[in-house]
């Protein structure tokens, strides 16, 4: 489908046009409207891709008309379509929210990198080419490094960005090495082609030929290297250290994007590599099971460590960052169970987590402008009815024990998936980490109802219409999705179809390479 190839190009092109336009147009309002318009068009395209994929399961687009495996091909399956829609939705909200929060002389640069961040994210989710995934990963990472250092007068932002960029560069380079190794042994970089040959080493594809050498060994190295990169991107223990470092120093709308745009790509990469490309039945199946088990344990550690560290945070942005680590750990546990139910639960967890962490950042952003970054100061939201209700809903959704909310359903699905797969200990870890992080969430709710010690004067606080709209939209999306789990059986069908689609490599290969 043409839109899947056009969407990253649209975002990238409009991002690069912005510095040029800034020479002609000096009005800051123009940049805000421009970025919002582009991202809304992006959201519309992502929705169109989602609807198309819902009907056809897997859609492809060949760049330059070269038939796979020759050219770069964009292949969207349901997982990529759902996550791409989520990522574009949060991008629209964050761009709109930035229009309220960000006041700077270099606003056009801010929106340039905001849009290229979105381009990198959807590029990673839609691409069907292993090397193109690396390129998009770098677009995503570079934009993230730049946005973390956006407040460049603050030495802490510079430090956080340097640390993030140094380690991030090593991580993405390791993925590049994995891509080279895959090319060296499979003779192709097309995901569908590799998925075919990893199951049938005897297969010969037109133009790319057969495999070279010991593909079991080389695939094992490629899996090890690329999975390390994905755990880094998804901030899973022990590669979680950058998130609480970089996330609080970034501008608040960017912090809100971190979960939905960057961490998401890490989880997506694991699903794509360990289920579609080197999935069950491939030559590395035995190793894959071990890798899944290791990732499962790391996810469990991440969930518990994140929940424990969350309790001692005094900075609201660090608090939310550790909460993200804990919830990404849970998503990784569900992702690595190895069943379709587990994959579906992981997708629900990713959606619920992305929406509610973003919602928390948007509401906390108002509190940060009004008072400061301490978790004591969320009390200033008390006089703002919409913000405080939204904040409460976001917290309760993360806590995940109130039935109609999406966070509750994601925990129920994960719990059932663990029990069905016989992972009793994982079910216990889920309950324990919910309990531990619950203490922190209750403390935060308690702070919400206490009078805040001080408020600042800020002109932005008088005109909060845009922020209110963004917060209301995010809250509505969360509530509607939570309700549709019971109200619309079709919603659950789509989610379970996502889980089934990831492991269904045959449809994937047939659509891409089919005659």
């Amino acid at each position: 489908m043409l839109a899947s190839g056009l969407l990253p190009l649209l975002l990238m092109g409009s991002a690069f046009a912005l510095p040029g336009l800034s020479l002609l147009i000096k009005n800051q309002k123009f940049y805000r409207v421009y970025a919002l318009a582009v991202s809304v068009v992006g959201l519309a395209m992502a929705s169109a891709i989602f609807l198309e994929t819902l009907e056809r399961r897997v859609t492809t687009y060949w760049f330059g008309g070269f038939r796979p495996p020759l050219g770069i091909v964009y292949t969207v399956d349901l997982l990529g379509a759902v996550l791409g829609l989520l990522s574009m939705f949060i991008l629209v909200l964050s761009v709109a929210y930035s229009g309220w929060l960000i006041r700077s002389r270099s606003e056009y640069l801010y929106y340039t990198f905001m849009l290229s961040l979105g381009a990198g994210s959807v590029g990673c989710l839609y691409t069907g080419d292993i090397f193109n995934f690396f390129v998009m990963l770098e677009v995503l990472s570079l934009s993230a490094y730049v946005l973390v250092s956006f407040y460049r007068d603050n030495p802490k932002s510079i430090e956080a960005s340097i640390r993030y960029a140094l380690v991030g560069m090593v991580a993405t380079s390791l993925y590049l090495l994995a891509a080279f190794i895959i090319y060296g042994s499979y003779g192709t970089l097309n995901m569908a082609d590799v998925a075919l040959k990893s199951r049938n080493p005897g297969a010969v594809t037109a133009y790319s030929g057969g495999v070279f050498g010991d593909i079991t060994f080389s695939s094992a190295i490629a899996i090890a290297l690329s999975v390390w990169t994905f755990t880094f991107k998804a901030a899973v223990f022990p590669n979680h250290f950058w998130l609480p470092d970089a996330n609080p120093e970034a501008p608040t709308p960017v912090s809100a994007l971190f979960v939905a745009v960057i961490d998401l790509v890490g989880a997506y990469g694991v699903a794509r590599f360990l289920y579609t490309i080197f999935g069950s039945g491939s030559v590395v199946d035995a190793l894959r099971r071990d890798v899944l088990l290791v990732l499962h344990v790391l996810g469990a550690l991440s969930a518990v460590v994140g929940a424990l560290l969350l309790l001692i945070q005094v900075d609201i942005k660090k608090f939310i960052a550790y909460s993200t680590i804990s919830h990404m750990g849970l998503a990784f546990m569900a992702l690595t169970v190895g069943t379709e139910g587990g994959l579906a639960a992981a997708v629900v967890q990713l959606i619920s987590n992305s929406l509610s962490e973003a919602l928390l950042f948007y509401t906390a952003g108002v509190a940060i402008v009004a008072a400061g970054r301490s978790i004591e100061y969320v009390g200033v939201l008390r006089r703002r009815r919409l913000e405080s209700v939204a904040f409460l809903i976001g917290i309760l959704n993360l806590f995940g024990i109130i039935p109609p909310l999406l966070g509750f359903w994601s925990k129920v699905f994960m719990f059932t998936a663990f029990l069905e797969a016989g992972y009793l200990a994982s079910a216990v870890v889920l309950v324990v980490s919910t309990g531990i992080s619950g203490i922190g969430y209750v403390k935060l709710i308690n702070n919400l109802f206490r009078e805040a010690p001080r408020t600042r004067e800020d002109s932005r606080l008088e005109k909060t219409l845009v922020a209110k709209l963004v917060i209301a939209t995010a809250t509505t999306a969360l509530l509607v999705l939570g309700a549709s789990v019971i109200a619309f059986p079709r919603f659950m069908l789509i989610i379970s179809e996502v889980g089934r689609g990831v492991a269904d490599y045959l449809t994937y290969v047939r659509t891409v390479l089919g005659a």
């Binding site: 510079i158 960029a165 090319y183």
Partner: protein, 134 residues
């Protein structure tokens, strides 16, 4: 090991692996940001050299060559002969892309290190200890 090509390839792979080890040691343990930066460039250059080495092909006689076809050939056999001894061009295209992306990231990182230096007057990762590293 009597074959000189195999020997050279083994030496190449060993030296690349050693290089990766040394450069990662540099990135993670050197206290100066500039040294970390240099180690990082060595690291990614090593990976790129590895990719170039992937394009190497054993040919029956002599060494693989770059396929140069000056005029439009008469028939397919000439093309086939050229392709038979040519190195794989795809890894070179990949490396070109990776270098361009790397350039962007390194320029940005170098800019950040300059800003760090302006703030702290040193490039030591813990500015309080690193007065001597300029």
């Amino acid at each position: 090991m009597s074959d000189p090509v195999s020997l050279l390839l083994t030496v190449l792979v060993l030296s690349l692996v050693t290089n990766i080890g040394i450069s990662l040691y540099g990135v993670f343990t050197r206290p100066s940001l500039v040294k970390k930066f240099i180690s990082l460039t060595i690291f990614s250059d090593t990976l790129n050299s590895f990719a170039i080495a992937l394009g190497f092909r054993r040919v029956a006689r002599g060494y693989p060559s770059i396929a140069v076809i000056p005029s439009i050939p008469e028939d397919v056999s000439e093309l086939r002969a050229a392709a038979g001894t040519a190195v794989d061009p795809l890894p070179q295209a990949l490396v070109l892309t990776a270098i361009v992306i790397g350039l962007a990231v390194y320029m940005f990182l170098a800019g950040l290190i300059v800003m760090y230096y302006r703030h702290y007057g040193t490039t030591h990762v813990r500015p309080a200890e690193g007065g001597s590293i300029g």
